[in-house]
């Protein structure tokens, strides 16, 4: 047992005192909204857990999820891979190939029956007997079903595995399907996004390792801790939306002042993700902060919901003034949409306000 390097060992080795470690556990508990009673539990888990085997399969995909994963800053991905999980199979990173690689997959499935995590990046195509995606001479679909059978938990990384993503966009020529269409006897944790945020990915894994349980999921199977709020709800540009201050055209005055991107197509109001809170690349920025609207990449079927630059017109959850529909019609070009109306009301308020000032 002492041979196994636990998360606690890693922290100690990096010069963190036991006192700081326990403080870290308390902060982690607080950050996860768990209350102080959970701190000892976190500490215990981090001190004693063996590394859980993870099999990471790749179907039809672009590897953006793997790339995102290795961007994780806390925890660092080297610590995840060396000290927290045992990444036994991942064709993007593993040393061995061919028969030797396939042998490892079998070995882990047999040795850790019911105890390993299956992580799936990409999805299986059903057309052409599955041969639009071949692994070891056979359809990826076979490998996926085989590895899923004895998994303790299954994670669907990204929008491909969760929803289908780009290859499943109309007309979906390979008939690519999300993994829940072919694995129907097990709960699947969906971590959508194209890709998901790095710390969201490692956050989901470390939560499972630390608490020995699945994170609480919403009705669609997404962890509530990251996917329960819209990007719009916590966007730093939200006050400009409420004030009716919009980017009307690229590189205009509003764009330079950081106004709301709703009118140039931002899908933040309908997209459930943690981009505006956790942000990207160690909190450096997120799409709206860099001036482009959200394209809604964590939403089911986002490729087929019209242009990324079309204004949203099908939102109904905003409380607005009585005559808003009328105003909305004028502004949004004929579609009775609450959000457009809300934006319009905001704009009119602003105009009125401006008038007062002048």
């Amino acid at each position: 047992m002492s041979q196994i390097e636990t998360f606690y060992d890693v922290m100690r080795r990096q010069g963190i005192t036991r006192r700081s470690f326990l403080k870290y556990c308390s902060l982690t508990a607080a950050a996860l909204g768990l209350g102080p009673a959970f701190a000892p539990k976190i500490a215990h888990a981090m001190e004693n857990k063996e590394r859980t085997p993870v099999l990471w399969l790749h179907g039809l995909e672009c590897t953006c999820c793997s790339e995102s994963f290795i961007r994780s800053a806390h925890p660092l991905v080297k610590d995840v891979v060396l000290s927290m999980i045992s990444l036994d199979y991942d064709d993007t990173l593993m040393a061995s190939a061919g028969h030797q690689a396939e042998a490892i997959l079998e070995e882990t499935i047999q040795k850790y029956k019911g105890k390993y995590i299956l992580a799936v990046e990409g999805n299986p195509p059903l057309n052409e007997d599955g041969m639009f995606c071949i692994v070891g001479g056979k359809p990826f679909l076979d490998q996926l079903k085989h590895a899923a059978k004895d998994a303790a938990a299954i994670i669907a990384w990204g929008s491909c595995a969760s929803w289908g993503c780009v290859q499943a966009a109309r007309p979906n020529p390979t008939q690519a399907v999300p993994i829940h269409k072919v694995i129907t006897d097990k709960p699947i944790i969906k971590v959508p996004g194209c890709p998901p945020i790095a710390e969201v990915m490692t956050g989901v894994i470390t939560y499972m390792l630390t608490f020995g349980t699945l994170p609480e999921l919403d009705r669609q199977g997404r962890p509530k801790m990251f996917y329960s709020q819209r990007i719009h709800d916590k966007c730093y540009r939200r006050p400009h939306f409420d004030a009716g201050q919009f980017v009307e055209q690229w590189d205009d005055e509003g764009a330079r002042k950081g106004y709301c991107l709703y009118k140039v197509g931002c899908k933040g109001p309908t997209t459930y993700n943690a981009c505006s809170t956790v942000r990207w690349n160690e909190g450096t920025s997120f799409p709206i902060q860099a001036g482009h609207g959200c394209i809604g990449c964590s939403e089911d079927g986002f490729w087929d919901k019209g242009s990324f630059y079309d204004r949203l017109t099908d939102i109904h959850q905003f409380g607005i003034e009585k005559n808003a529909d009328e105003i909305g019609t004028a502004v949004a070009g004929g579609v009775g949409a609450a959000i457009a109306a809300h934006a319009a009301v905001s704009a009119i308020k602003r105009a009125q306000h401006k008038g007062d000032q002048e």
């Binding site: 590394r51 061919g98 057309n127």
Partner: protein
């Protein structure tokens, strides 16, 4: 001149199958035949995935195309997006502002640096480096080695390497080898001394930490990485240095400073870690000069990093084609000419209309046709051995004027060298001199560069070029803003109402893995046809109508294997191309509707 052709290959020896080929992007299979001396005499490279993105694009808004094609690949993330917006801008005759040009260059170089470093350390290094052997190292010796190969790298103390070794030891002793399980660690193909192996393992981990830093430049200008945002007509990241709201604007003093720091880190890492490591590995594997193949013959580059916008003659790495190893003649390349770039499908799982052979991408047509040859061993859904005399890959076979071509950092570097680009000449000459000095060899460039090692070296040199020239881009951007130009987008033709009824365009770039082209036809404001011919389609292509073989296959020939059951040498040479299979195998016809008949069970 004779081309490398299937009719010269001998497939009578023992067949070795490697599937999956790991540490690449996407799905790939490789089969070779070895003779009685375990020398590779026939090679078969197969793309084993296909997604059909171009048919999905049909009928969509051309301004959205970048986001779709960006998802061709998340490893070379952004390069397809950039090439796509260029194609649309070319079709609609849109010129972008200088600031957008410079920001796009910085994003493109950020990708190049990131991609090259991750490729070398996390996909390629384990072909040269034996982490288990590092356990035997004396950390003091590693420390001395580190100080010798790279005096400026701060992480060089014996204690540092001792810590890395201890961590590795605990990892190995845990019995859970994870990513390193079933590696070929007792194979004599590994030749590094333990001290060097330990240094490389330390750098494997350092590179893992570093790579997440450089991509933050994408987060600043594109909002995220992987898959930053691009835009037709310029860049969406507006500039505001000193006016109201500047602190919430994408490009301001804080973010410019941030980008500058990341560029400097990239320069330091490349010069102090990446380049010295590649040179050290080259000097240890000095006699392993296999893997040249097509690199000694036919090379292609579309050129990149245009210094004066829209003037291709100012490319830092110029366009051109070399045929038959004649470096004295650089042929001009025109991607619009229907006679130059053509794709063949004789050995690919597609079918052309009767009588058609090679098609230019603007006229590209593709109907998938998954069929196996009569000599296949196995069944349709359980292939044991492929029959390369028939169709055997999801990759098409692109050819330039009928020639199979190698693309990538090495072709870019040979073409730039032969074109007399000073920066490149200095780098290449310096590298060869130091290699010869370290090894006692007296190799010429033509003996040294067209090889697996040469490919790996060119990639590292290009990383240095990108880091250095990105600093120039940054200064030019700041200078231009200082001169009063803060524009980032040309919106004159943003509205489709201002577009012609029909238009066609082409976007080109040099992606991390080589020449990349997107061809688009626009009709009534929608995409009528979209074709991408990508680097790994060139390098990983199967045979063509004439039997000419592609770069992957050619590179493996005549390589001796220490143990044919352990594909170390195959992986080493294939990885030197940095294969990207999701990129190579997404091409699709216009009539994909017919393919959607399968029922979801």
């Amino acid at each position: 001149m004779t081309e490398l052709n299937a009719n010269q290959l001998d497939n009578s020896g023992r067949r070795i199958v490697v599937d999956p080929v790991t540490r690449i992007e996407g799905h790939m299979r490789c089969e070779v035949n070895v003779d009685e001396n375990n020398i590779i005499r026939n090679a078969v490279s197969t793309g084993t995935m296909w997604r059909g993105l171009e048919v999905i694009l049909k009928g969509r808004d051309p301004r959205d195309a970048w986001a779709f094609v960006e998802r061709i690949c998340g490893v070379c993330t952004g390069t397809h997006a950039l090439t796509s917006v260029r194609a649309v801008e070319d079709a609609l005759d849109i010129q972008i502002p200088l600031n957008a040009h410079l920001i796009r260059h910085m994003m493109d170089k950020t990708l190049q640096i990131h991609d090259h470093i991750v490729h070398f350390y996390h996909l390629h290094a384990l072909d040269w480096v034996n982490p288990v052997n590092a356990l035997k190292a004396d950390p003091v010796e590693t420390s001395e080695l580190q100080k010798m190969v790279s005096p400026h790298h701060p992480k060089s103390s014996p204690g540092y390497f001792k810590d890395v070794q201890t961590r590795l030891k605990k990892f190995v002793e845990s019995g859970q080898l994870g990513l390193f399980a079933n590696g070929y660690w007792d194979n004599p193909a590994y030749k590094m001394p333990p001290a060097a192996d330990l240094m490389a393992v330390a750098h494997y981990l350092e590179a893992l930490d570093f790579q997440k830093e450089i991509v933050k430049i994408h987060a600043i200008f594109g909002g995220k990485n992987p898959h930053p945002n691009y835009m037709v007509g310029g860049m969406p990241c507006a500039i505001n240095l000193d006016d109201t709201g500047a602190s919430g604007a994408p490009v301001n003093m804080v973010t410019l400073n941030f980008v500058l720091e990341r560029i400097r880190e990239a320069q330091a890492f490349t010069k102090n870690v990446y380049l010295p490591d590649v040179m050290a590995i080259a000097s240890i594997y000095k006699d392993w000069l296999y893997g040249g193949g097509l690199a000694a013959e036919n090379l292609l580059s579309y050129g990149t990093y245009t210094q004066v916008p829209y003037d291709k003659s100012t490319d830092l790495l110029p366009a051109g084609a070399i045929i038959g190893g004649n470096w004295d003649e650089i042929h001009p390349v025109d991607v619009r000419d229907p006679e130059q770039v053509q794709e063949f499908v004789d050995h690919s799982w597609y079918r052309y209309e009767e009588g058609k052979t090679g098609l230019h991408p603007w006229d590209g047509e593709t109907s998938p046709s998954f069929e196996l040859g009569p000599n296949t061993v196995g069944t349709k859904t359980d292939i044991k051995e492929l029959d390369e005399s028939a169709k055997y890959s999801w990759i098409k076979a692109p050819r330039w004027r009928g020639h199979a071509m190698e693309v990538g950092p090495l072709p870019r570097y040979i073409i730039a060298y032969a074109s007399g680009r000073e920066y490149v000449k200095e780098q290449v000459d310096r590298s060869l001199a130091s290699f010869n000095q370290a090894t006692g060899h007296e190799l010429t460039l033509k003996q040294f560069l067209p090889s697996t090692l040469g490919r790996t070296l060119a990639r590292a040199l290009e990383c240095e070029l990108c880091a250095d020239s990105m600093l120039d881009d940054w200064h030019q951007l700041v200078g231009n803003i200082k001169a009063g130009d803060t524009s980032t987008a040309n919106v004159e033709k943003w509205d489709p109402a201002n577009w012609p009824k029909e238009a066609k365009g082409v976007g080109i770039n040099e992606a991390p893995r080589g020449a990349l082209g997107h061809w688009i036809k626009i009709k009534d404001g929608k995409i009528e046809n979209y074709q991408a011919v990508v680097p790994t389609t060139w390098n990983g292509s199967p045979r063509d109508s004439q039997g000419n073989i592609g770069a992957f296959e050619a590179s493996l020939l005549n390589t001796p294997m220490e143990r044919p059951d352990e594909p170390v040498e195959i992986l080493r040479t294939l990885h030197s191309f940095d294969p990207c299979l999701a990129c190579s195998t997404h091409v699709m016809s216009e009539d994909g509707q017919e393919l959607t008949k399968v029922k979801i069970r």
